[in-house]
Symmetry: C2
Subunit: 355 residues, 2 copies
């Protein structure tokens, strides 16, 4: 069943990637994540196989019992082959930590892939809601509603003074991490990202790559998130990020305008060449693909390339290794993937090249 | 009149570039050049303005008097603007030395641009015949016939022991230089050109770039020519080159076959990307253009790209700086040329991209 589901999913893009939300030329998605642990069980890192099996079974039953989560897909991640686990990472439904973990663990998500719940990750439960564009409040509202529902059927470890107890002290308190995924190609091209990262860090915000903690920025995607969760209300955390993101959006827009006014032809050249390379290569790595797709996405946003942003968003997702293998319905070596990736890109983009 | 003529020429390619001759997938052209000097005048480097004016006038009159050369276009190179002189260099009708020279000097050529005669270059006369493909004997026959005709109306400086006297001792004797222009992308890609150049030099042959002496190899074009002209007959010189070129052609073919059998996909990738870049760039230098056109030409020869070789040959010629300016009918800065060059390439190639 899991197989059938993932085989279908690989042909579509998640709703949070559809570019329908506010400021979606720059803000890919907004994400709210809540860390929760069950009472009466040790944290995941100290839990036994048996503990984890019980937790997974218990949570699955509770999800089935709730109106809000009854229709969620629930997958036992430890029973999935490597490619399927990687596939879930690429869709941001599970973390790399859950992918690499051991023992019974799982993920539950709704059919729009907006809400997902990891079971037996660093914490027993990691609830996540992702929305298209700059929509943190909406994501928070939905996460909050899901959390309330879960809270009504699961006893969470909670300390009256410290708040929610989590495996890592940095998550204690609200257990909330709010993050926004931004596409910042103009700031990257004009070499202003170091400055931006430093400014964010001074404000207590972290800047990470596409796959969160420890991942490198790829395709000029940057994830901005709060660091502190203790001693502050959920709303404060959300508002803090909300106060910063519009400034970042403005910086990126200014950098884009400066590129357009000061070196329009070089910019047109750069984005068109990227489209030309993607539309003609016969072997291409994931990294090079991300690089050029980012340029093309910028070109579309600035009216230099006439192509739907969705085409590019979909390619960002589908040119990833596990997606390619699901689309081809076979295991592929790195070299084979590079060839299949190039063929997919040519098919989708060659005819789109501009004059 | 010169203006009108060159304005027309810029839209066409010379007959020697049409790719109709033998082995023309590898051999672009065969060239025979004869150096001749008039008696009673000092060599060009020591001639006065007045001498040069007299020589040019005299030769022009003789050309008009001969059946074979009556219809030749005759241009006073010293009266042409810089762009037109550069244009003649790009078409290989005159040398860079004649372009940069001083005082009265000229060029005469037939409408197919196969035969040309430089007046007051290093020698008073430099007669050149270029043919498409590997056709040195044909080129020699025609040069010989033209030389005989000129000899019947002009007294050439000739020494019974040394042969034809020339300004530079390396040309004394036959005054003949035979050369073949080869396109050797596979030998260049597989880094075998150093070896080839050394082997040629051991055999007394010189390997030069597109514009002869002192020019860098560009677009993987190499000009192979004899070094010694003294103490040997014209036929010996021609035969010497004829004995070597087929081996070089074979080396290049083997390198192409090896690339095809050992790394077909990488090769397909490389030539397709080159076509993709040429078909999408919005600013591109002459050097980068030559590099990618060379790859595309290789791709066509190996059946990896479906495009007429003539399209590429024509672009090799027309994307050169003076050609671009003649096509646009205006002077252009380097930056403007890069933009116009990219537009020309897109127009001719974008629709030709492959799947």
């Amino acid at each position: 069943m899991a197989m059938d589901l993932l085989d279908q999913l690989c042909h579509t893009i998640c709703s949070w990637l559809q570019g329908t939300g506010p400021e979606s030329d720059i803000v890919i998605s907004s994400r709210v994540r809540l860390a929760r642990n069950l009472i009466r069980y040790p944290f995941t890192s100290r839990a036994t196989e048996q503990d984890k099996r019980e937790i997974f079974g218990f949570v699955r039953d509770r999800l089935r019992s709730l109106e809000l989560t009854r229709e969620f897909h629930i997958l036992a991640v430890d029973e999935l082959p490597e490619t399927d686990r990687q596939f879930l990472v690429e869709r941001q439904l599970i973390s790399r930590e859950l992918h690499n973990g051991s023992g019974p663990r799982g993920v539950a998500f709704d059919s729009s892939e907006t809400a997902s719940l990891m079971i037996n990750e660093e914490d027993h439960l990691r609830l996540q809601v992702m929305q298209s564009g700059l929509a943190l409040r909406e994501a928070w509202d939905r996460a909050n509603a899901l959390d309330d529902a879960l809270d009504s059927v699961i006893d969470f470890a909670y300390h009256p003074e410290f708040g929610y107890l989590t495996a890592c002290p940095t998550n204690v308190g609200t257990g909330l991490r709010a993050s926004v995924m931004l596409h910042l190609p103009a700031l990257a091209m004009t070499k202003q990202m170091d400055k931006v990262v430093m400014a964010m860090e001074k404000m207590g915000l972290a800047v990470r790559g596409l796959f969160g903690e420890g991942s490198q920025p790829s395709g000029d995607f940057y994830q901005i998130s709060n660091q502190v969760t203790l001693g502050r209300s959920e709303e404060d955390i959300i508002e803090e990020i909300y106060s910063v993101i519009p400034k970042l959006i403005q910086y990126e827009r200014r950098a884009r305008e400066a590129l357009l006014s000061e070196s329009r032809n070089e910019l047109q050249d750069s984005v068109s060449r990227s489209l030309g390379i993607l539309g003609s290569a016969h072997t291409i790595t994931s990294e090079e693909t991300m690089y050029h797709l980012s340029r093309v996405r910028l070109g579309i946003a600035l009216g230099l390339i006439d192509l739907p942003t969705q085409t590019v968003n979909k390619l960002f997702m589908q040119t990833q290794p596990a997606h390619l293998q699901k689309l081809q319905r076979q295991e592929l070596s790195g070299q084979e993937r590079n060839i299949v990736r190039a063929a997919l890109l040519r098919q989708r983009l060659a005819s789109a090249n501009q004059n």
